[in-house]
Structures are given as structure tokens and as C-alpha cells.
Amino acid sequence: MSFIEAKDLVHEYIMRDEEGNVEGVQVALDHLDLNVEQGQFIAVLGHNGSGKSTFAKHLNALLMPSEGTLYVGGMDVSDENLTYDIRQTAGMVFQNPDNQIIASVVQEDVGFGPENIGTPTEEIWERVEKSLRAVGMWAYREHSPNRLSGGQKQRVAIAGVMAMEPKCIILDEPTAMLDPDGRKEVLAAVHELNKTKGVTIILITHYMEEVVDADYVYVMDKGKVVMEGNPTGIFSQVETLKEHHLDVPQITMLAHELKQEGLPLRDGILTREELIQEIDRICH
């Protein structure tokens, strides 16, 4: 069994009027199938309203499936007795860094999760130190979160999740509210955790550039997985991506246009270096 296994997953948002009668049903997840292996770096792509955030909330048992099954680390998310175990296994980082920091001192915020699960005091301090060091925020442990930049706040939020020692971290558009520098900072921290600590990462985003280094990519649209594969494979299908309202990275776009103009480039060029190499190859 895979670490995360979604089968025929359906989630419907039911809209009710004041008397509680059903006014309408919006299908956010439509028979979704998805598998993630332990230790992978997975990216889930999709434009607004594709159901990617709804899916993320299922992984953390914040939402329950309407139909179908979802197993996280072998645990069924529909089982309410397992809710807290699931939340410990799969931690979640949200979009707005301000709205997920609870305490007014960095280290106390990181300690919030372990406090909730009843970790002994000494171990809390060990975990806080380990997680803050892992995201490079140890020097700021006594600062107020209000004085940090967006990227730093988001790293504190990641440390807060790390302190619960999860096997998997789900990041729901963690960079959407950050400037380019903050974005790089956060992604570097996430990749570091994936490589050195072997934490499974599920990165939910609509920025193509962030997907380039992932192990495997799922593209969602209208609550379904419409494309999947490694980044090179996904980005070689520029036209299909456009159909799903997604842009490709600028370099990939450039390579694609050059190819259409007749240059014999290969598909799925993701970085500037790759493009330079390809052009070099053609010239010789």
C-alpha cells in the first residue's frame, strides 16, 4: 500500500438556505485517484477552483470525503478516532503566514503542536530546537513573529509542523502571499527537509516554477487528476496545460515557441541551463 492512497475520492460542498434545505451541490473532488510513496516530493498543480485545496484538507482530516476512500499512512481519514493520529502523520502549512502563527514568540509557536499532543516539556524544547534549526530560523527563536518577513514567517510555520515529527508535510500554496525572495527561501527549506529528513512533501501550488524540481506532478482540474508524470513529461505538453488554464515556465514556453518556429529542440525543457545546452547542441 502506498503512503497516501486516494480511491474514487469525492467531496461535495452542500449549500443550504436558512431552513437547511439543500440549495445546490458543488462537486469539489470528482472521483479522484492518487498515490504518493513515502519520501517523495509531489507537486499538485491546478488553477483556482480546481479542487486542490479541498484535496489538501482531506489529507489532514480537516474535511471528510463524501464518497470514496483516502488512506494516509495506512489510516482511513473517515475514521474519527484516528483524526489526531492522521494530523500528526501529515502536517499542514497554509497560505497566509500571519493566520497560522498562534503565539507571540517564535519558539513558543513552534512548541504549540507538541504541547497539544502532550509531549513532555524537555522533549518539546529538543524538538523546537531541531525544527527551528532545520528551517534556519534558530537565530530568531526569541523574536516576535510580527517583526519577521513573509518568508521567515512561513518557515516558522513549517518548523511548527516539523516539531510534531510528521512523516509528511502538505503545503497549501505556501508561497502565494510571498515576494520572490521569500518564495525561494521557503522552497529551499522544503527541499532541504525532503532530502535530509526524508519527509514526504506534497506541494500544492499554481506556480509552475516551483514544480520543476518535484519527483512527480499531478495536474488537477475540475476536481479530477487530468495529467500526471514527471515534470519534464508534464511540461512537454504545453498545449494540454493551456487547456487546463495553466501557464508553463517562461523558459519552457520560449523553447516551445522556438520549436514551433522550426528549431529541432527536445520537449520538456525546464531550466535556462537546459535550454542553453540544447541550443549549444544544435549549433554544433
Binding site: 498562534i102 503542536g113 504541547e115 516539556t121
Partner: protein, 267 residues
């Protein structure tokens, strides 16, 4: 402009008062408040003054910081003082025009002024030497017995600390909304009280909407981190009594007893 407001007037310093357990400080402050309302006679007054001076000296907080708290109530002090001075009937002390100051009036007014001033200074020693977080922790621990009568002590403390965390964020947001509304021609400055109050509506509505959105996000984030109320939670910074706390308890009880005994001998 709103950003300059700082909340919680904690003054960081390395002093024996700062190191005390917040519960000890809460208890001592209570004792102190009782003492300034029940003492009698000049000797007791001297004892209170000496105790307060000692604590201020030990706290290493500049005296000007304590006086700062008085500024906000100067008007109330003057008003209450004047009322007490002229309105208390009794033996005539001075009399001019239609106003009479009685002997009792002068005594009442000075007593009242002294009590108010000592109250403010005494309590600000506590807020100046205790961080807001310690204060909420202390309150939670001190109010724990109330749990038996179903007072949601942990929830109240959690709400207080979250409020402290979000006040600067909301102030910043108010600033932003204000500027956005001003850019579109809103006027917050001119007009009378009613016009000014009305002008606040386009500020308050978006602020409330955003506060609710933030609250929703925060609740989700707390749930995602396994928060499930006060049951089964451990503390990162558990409150622990040290020897200095025990000594402080003893001293403050002796102090209260002394004040009460002095009531019997009103020198």
C-alpha cells in the same frame, strides 16, 4: 500612525521582581490592593510607601515609567478630588464665596487621591515586569479552581494570548484600510463627533469581515496542529515555584497582617 501603539508595557530587565512566578506577582498585587484600601493611620501609610518604594527599587524599572500610567487618569483624579473636597459635609476648615471645604472633605480627598495613585503605580509594577504571555499563564493557573464551577479557564487564557498576538496585525490592517478609504476620498478627520463616528463605518465593516476570515483561518491552523482544548496538553514553559516565590508569599502575608494589626492602633 496607528502602528506606534505598543501593547503590553513590559519593560525588560534582569531583576528579582522580573524573575518571580507570575502567580506570585498576581497574589502579591492582590494583597497590596487590599492593604491600600483597609489601612488606617500614618504608620501603616509609611509601611505601604516603604514597601512600594522597595519593590520599585528592586524591579529596576525607571520610576518615570510607573508615573506614565497616571497620565491617562489625571482628569478623573482631579474631578474626583474636587468632588470629595467640596461635597463632604463636616467641620468647616476653610470657606470662601459659596464653597466650603470641610475637615473631613480634605481628609477624604487626600485619601482617595493617594489610594488611586498607589493603585495605579502598584499594578503597573506588575504589568511592567511581567510579559503578557506570563500574565495569561499566571491567570490560567491562578483561576484553575474556577474550572470546578465550569468556568472555561483554559479557553479564556487562550483567547487572551491570541488577542495579544493579533492586536498588532489588526492595527496594521486598520491602518491599511484607512489609507485605502482615504485614497478614495473618505474623511476621518473633520466634523463633529457624530460625523466622525459615521465616518468610521467604512473602516469598521471591512475590518470586522477580515477579522472573521482570519479567525476562521486560525481555527483551521490550530486544528491542523492537533489542538483540542486544554485536556492532555503539556506546557513548554511550565510554571514552577522557586524559593524566591515562597519567600515573597511569606513576606506579603506578614505585610498584610502588619497592616491589619496597625488598624487596631491608629497612631
Amino acid at each position: 500612525m496607528l502602528r506606534e501603539i505598543t501593547l503590553g508595557q513590559y519593560y525588560p530587565a534582569d531583576s528579582p521582581i522580573h524573575k518571580l512566578d507570575p502567580r506570585t506577582k498576581l497574589f502579591t498585587t492582590m494583597i497590596y490592593i487590599i492593604s491600600i484600601f483597609c489601612f488606617k493611620g500614618p504608620v501603616a501609610f509609611a509601611v505601604i510607601t516603604a514597601a512600594l518604594a522597595m519593590v520599585i527599587y528592586l524591579s529596576k524599572v525607571p520610576f518615570s515609567y510607573m508615573v506614565r500610567g497616571l497620565k491617562t487618569i489625571v482628569f478623573i483624579l482631579i474631578f474626583a478630588g474636587i468632588l470629595n473636597l467640596f461635597m463632604t459635609p463636616g467641620r468647616e476648615l476653610v470657606s470662601f464665596w459659596k464653597l466650603t471645604i470641610s475637615y473631613e472633605g480634605a481628609k477624604n480627598a487626600s485619601l482617595m487621591l493617594f489610594r488611586m495613585i498607589y493603585l495605579i503605580i502598584g499594578t503597573s509594577v506588575m504589568t511592567l515586569t511581567t510579559t503578557p504571555n506570563q500574565l495569561t499563564d499566571g491567570l490560567e493557573a491562578a483561576l484553575k479552581p474556577m474550572k470546578k464551577i465550569k468556568v472555561p479557564v483554559h479557553e479564556i487564557a487562550m483567547m487572551m494570548s491570541i488577542a495579544l498576538r493579533f492586536i498588532p496585525i489588526l492595527i496594521e490592517e486598520t491602518d491599511k484600510i484607512m489609507k485605502a478609504q482615504m485614497a478614495r476620498g473618505a474623511d476621518f478627520e473633520s466634523g463633529g463627533l457624530i460625523k466622525k463616528t459615521k465616518a468610521m463605518i467604512p473602516l469598521l465593516v471591512p475590518l470586522f469581515v477580515s477579522a472573521f476570515r482570519r479567525a476562521n483561518d486560525l481555527a483551521l491552523a490550530m486544528e491542523a496542529r492537533c489542538y483540542s482544548g486544554g485536556e492532555g496538553r503539556t506546557k513548554m514553559l511550565p510554571l514552577k515555584y522557586e524559593n524566591r516565590d515562597r519567600i515573597t508569599y511569606v513576606i506579603s502575608i506578614v505585610y498584610l497582617v502588619a497592616i491589619c494589626v496597625l488598624r487596631r492602633f491608629p497612631f
